[in-house]
Amino acid sequence: MSVLSAALLALPLIAAPYAAAQAVPNGYPADYAKTIDAAKKEGKLVIYSSTDQASATPLLDDFKKEYPFANVEYQDIGTSQLYSRFLAEAAAGSPSADLLWSSAMDLQVKLAADGYALTYASPESKNFAPENSYQNMAFGTTLEPAALIYNKRLVKAGDLPATHAAFAKLLSGGKLSGKLATWDPEKSGVGFTLMEYDNQSNKDFGAVSQGLGKAQAGLYSSTGAMLEKVVSGEALYGYNIIGSYALLRQQTVPDLGMKFWKDGTIAFQRVAFINKNAKAPNTAKLFLDYLLSRRGQLVMANKALIYSLRSDVAGKATRTTLTQQVGGAANLKIIAVDKRLLDNLVPATRNAFLDIWRKNVKGQ
């Protein structure tokens, strides 16, 4: 990260009003002090998360500043392992996470629906839309737009497609053969969620997916692989890449371009919930509220470079900047944290989409 951007990122923190540690945050009910006091008596807060420790560190550090007594144990693991671990630990009654924070929206909502989540009326809820939480159990915390990434050395800005339809045409043109990278929804859970929602909300998905097939797009199961392909120029474009990861990589690789669609950009949310049997439920509440708070979202947007979900946050990766980039709120299509996600875990529904995918992309 350059010195300049580091200095810019530090600004909001310096400018943030000094909050006396352990005081009830502004706008919270007075009895929140009870939660804080109870948290002081708890042991360490254990978090399982699919967010890299490197990205989470600014959040954890700032959380410690707000609640210096809190002792946080942060464990980053893959989404699928996170689910498996928690489920087995809950069944065995062995120590597990107090708070789970993962990009696998469907698995998080499933755990909540299956009764593993604590019901909690967060004082931050009033700042969020109904689509951002599920029954006061599972809470959307971030905005994860799917971007078209490209290699600036090899793609001229003028050649960039403006709409999905234009992209589909470009794909079918025959010049991009083997130069595309995208998710393999048959191998990645997050990839499935994105592609399936893309199909629901984007009328040109059929044409785009057929184009991906014609261009013999490489299908990947990890963001790491796709970013690497586009950075090196092996692929010119990456389709439906998680925007926050790409934004983070842009800090060190200026050749990496990122563009959001103006005819509909899809986005998911990283979902957090508190374990119903948490050992440190009060500290977990503090952390959840912190993630949802203006202060937490400010750190996300400016230091962790994860797009903030709140619209009252200014900075680099925010809902506001994103809304501008996609050309208005109507074009930002966010996957809601709700029961519909569970349909994705029904084999028949799942296969219905995978059949379309296989037909369009693989000609099967």
Partner: protein
């Protein structure tokens, strides 16, 4: 537990009742190996997680996997990889072992060090290295294109044949290690005799040396077959884009198709691989059933002069250099280069992209920094303990009465057959559901135990090969002069075996530093290890950190290797 080296297996002697020591050994190994496997067997027959309140028993998971064409495609691809590994790695590894240990090949020392490097490196990283150097945007490809004015490099690293070739070539060191350990211990008088009777270098190799090390050749071929079906990192990185699935990457498909982790079908895949492993161990036992007659390092072993290669000396050195350049230097350079730049590919000026930031960011992230230390602990201390365990098992296989010996041989051959991710999950289940194991789970001990179990087939065969070379004459002599069985072993055999054991420790150390998939579920804050961190980082995109971490991995192993060589330990 003390293994009681008994004379029970001496032919023609009435067998005394089975000593308690063997029973204990068999029970311990059986418990360690079979409990995760039986748990998987049970899971393979259930429609829900075994810990779920509602579940039914049936074979639906078997039907699902066996009727899935994608499974058979993956199975076929794994078979191709395994065969390529046998037919490339075994002949090449044996030939290299012979040339380095027995002949006057120039630069033999340098070749040996280079040759071993691929086993220092996580296969995920090796894959990244091949992409950075030989991939469509790779720097070697770029030179080649510029040199011959081509639009694209005339090769691909993403097809099945390419992955098979790479897998074969990068597994040469495993065979080299097995075979050269054995060759160095050979009593050279037989080769000397052949040479004095006028046999040329090749005649000595094919008629004397190779037949003498036949058990090691068989072991390494069987190990290649086992590892071929377990291989994960290379196909994950190289086969992803073009949909070249193998058994281990097919597991991802299983999970993503149902949306939730599909434990049943995963366990079924494990069962199929266990059946294969049983067949493999059976074949190995059949092919080495007469290995007792090959004992050749005794009290009287001596070393002869190196064989003269004559006119072939330099051409051979050149061919070996070409192999090393392709299979070792190029991907290693790729990894190192990737760890030092922010961006790469055509159009990037690598000099201006140079940076140390990738390393700095590791040391500013507490869990990554801690994982370097933890990995060293697990590999050094856990590795030493593992060698002790493997020694007992190997002694049991060599010396226990037939039934125990055979059981141990089969048990020890099983764990590596199960893909590390599934084995790691099964071990994790045991650690949280078995009350006595619960306190161990959040400690490094759980990772050391998991690694010891997972690498048992490799370690036990390594030590069996060394043990097979030690004549028991000395020990018999000690027994006759009144030593106890244990005393005779400790004083007569162990000193001769010690270099072999220390070498085994070094090799196990390297495997433990590199191991990645079986630790993924056992990580907890404070017990992070490098290999598993790399898997996690791969999914979120931090290839910068991966390259830097693995360069550190290489540095750790090379440093330990250098120290070990300095103090007189030789890996072969």
């Amino acid at each position: 537990m003390t293994a009681q080296p008994s004379k029970a297996s001496t032919p023609g002697v009435v067998r005394p009742p089975l000593p308690l020591g063997w029973w204990l050994l068999m029970a311990a190994v059986g418990l360690a190996v079979l409990s995760p496997l039986l748990l998987l067997l049970w899971q393979s027959l259930l429609n829900n997680p075994f810990f779920a309140p509602v579940k039914t028993v049936g074979v639906s998971a078997y039907t699902q996997v066996l009727s899935d064409p994608a499974f058979w495609r993956a199975f076929g691809n794994s078979g191709v990889l395994a065969l390529a590994m046998i037919f490339i790695a075994v002949p090449l590894g044996a030939l290299l072992a012979f040339l380095v240990t027995k002949t006057d090949l120039p630069f033999a020392k340098v070749f040996e060090v280079l040759l071993l490097t691929p086993i220092f490196v996580s296969p995920i990283v090796l894959g990244v290295g091949f992409i950075v150097s030989l991939g469509p945007s790779g720097f070697v490809s770029a030179w080649f294109k510029a040199l011959f004015h081509l639009d694209a490099a005339p090769w691909s690293v993403y097809t099945l044949p390419a992955i098979a070739l790479i897998a074969g070539l990068t597994h040469v060191p495993y065979v080299y290690l097995y075979v050269s350990t054995t060759m160095k211990n050979l009593d050279a008088s037989l080769e000397e005799a052949a040479r004095l009777s006028g046999a040329g270098v090749w005649k000595v190799m094919t008629a004397v040396t190779l037949p003498l090390v036949r058990p090691a050749l068989v072991y390494s071929a069987m190990l290649m077959l086992l590892l071929g079906f377990e291989i994960f990192g290379l196909p994950l990185v190289l086969g992803d884009a073009r949909g070249v699935d193998v058994i281990t990457t097919y597991l991802y498909r299983l999970t993503a198709i149902t949306g939730v982790p599909a434990y049943g079908p995963m366990a079924v895949v494990a069962m199929i691989l266990i059946c294969m492993a049983l067949v493999i161990v059976f074949m190995q036992r059949f092919l080495t059933r007469t290995s007792g007659s090959y004992v050749s390092l005794g009290s009287k072993g001596y070393r002869a002069e190196r064989l003269k290669l004559g006119g072939l000396r330099w051409p051979l050195a050149l061919i070996i250099s070409a192999y090393l350049l392709y299979a070792v230097v190029t991907p290693m350079a790729g990894v190192l280069l990737r760890s030092l730049v922010r961006s790469w590919g055509p159009g990037v000026n690598l000099f201006s992209a140079l940076t140390l930031a990738n390393y700095q960011s590791i040391f500013s992230t507490p869990d990554l920094a801690r994982s370097v230390l933890n990995t060293l602990m697990v590999a050094l201390v856990g590795g030493a303990a593992a060698v002790a365990v493997y020694l007992f098992v190997a002694l049991g296989i060599q010396r226990a009465p037939k039934g125990v010996s055979r059981t141990l041989d089969y048990l020890a051959g099983l764990p590596r057959a199960v893909p590390g991710l599934i084995m790691g999950l099964a071990l994790f289940w045991l650690f949280i559901f078995v009350p006595v194991l619960k306190p161990i789970r959040p400690t490094l001990l759980s990772i050391a135990i998991a690694y010891t179990i997972v690498w048992m087939p490799y370690g036990v065969r390594l030590i069996t090969a060394a043990l097979g070379q030690v004549s028991r004459d000395l020990e018999e002599a000690a027994r006759i002069s009144g030593a106890t069985a244990t005393g005779a072993f400790v004083r007569a055999t162990l000193p001769v075996l010690r270099p072999g054991l220390i070498a085994a420790w070094l090799l196990i150390f390297m495997q433990f530093v590199r191991e990645y998939s079986s630790g993924v579920y056992l990580l907890s804050p404070g017990t992070e290890v490098l290999g598993a961190q790399i898997v996690q980082l791969w999914s979120t995109g931090a290839v910068d950190a991966i390259a830097a971490l693995s360069s550190l991995q290489i540095i750790i192993i090379v440093a330990v290797y250098a120290i070990a060589t300095r103090i007189g330990v030789r890996p072969g």
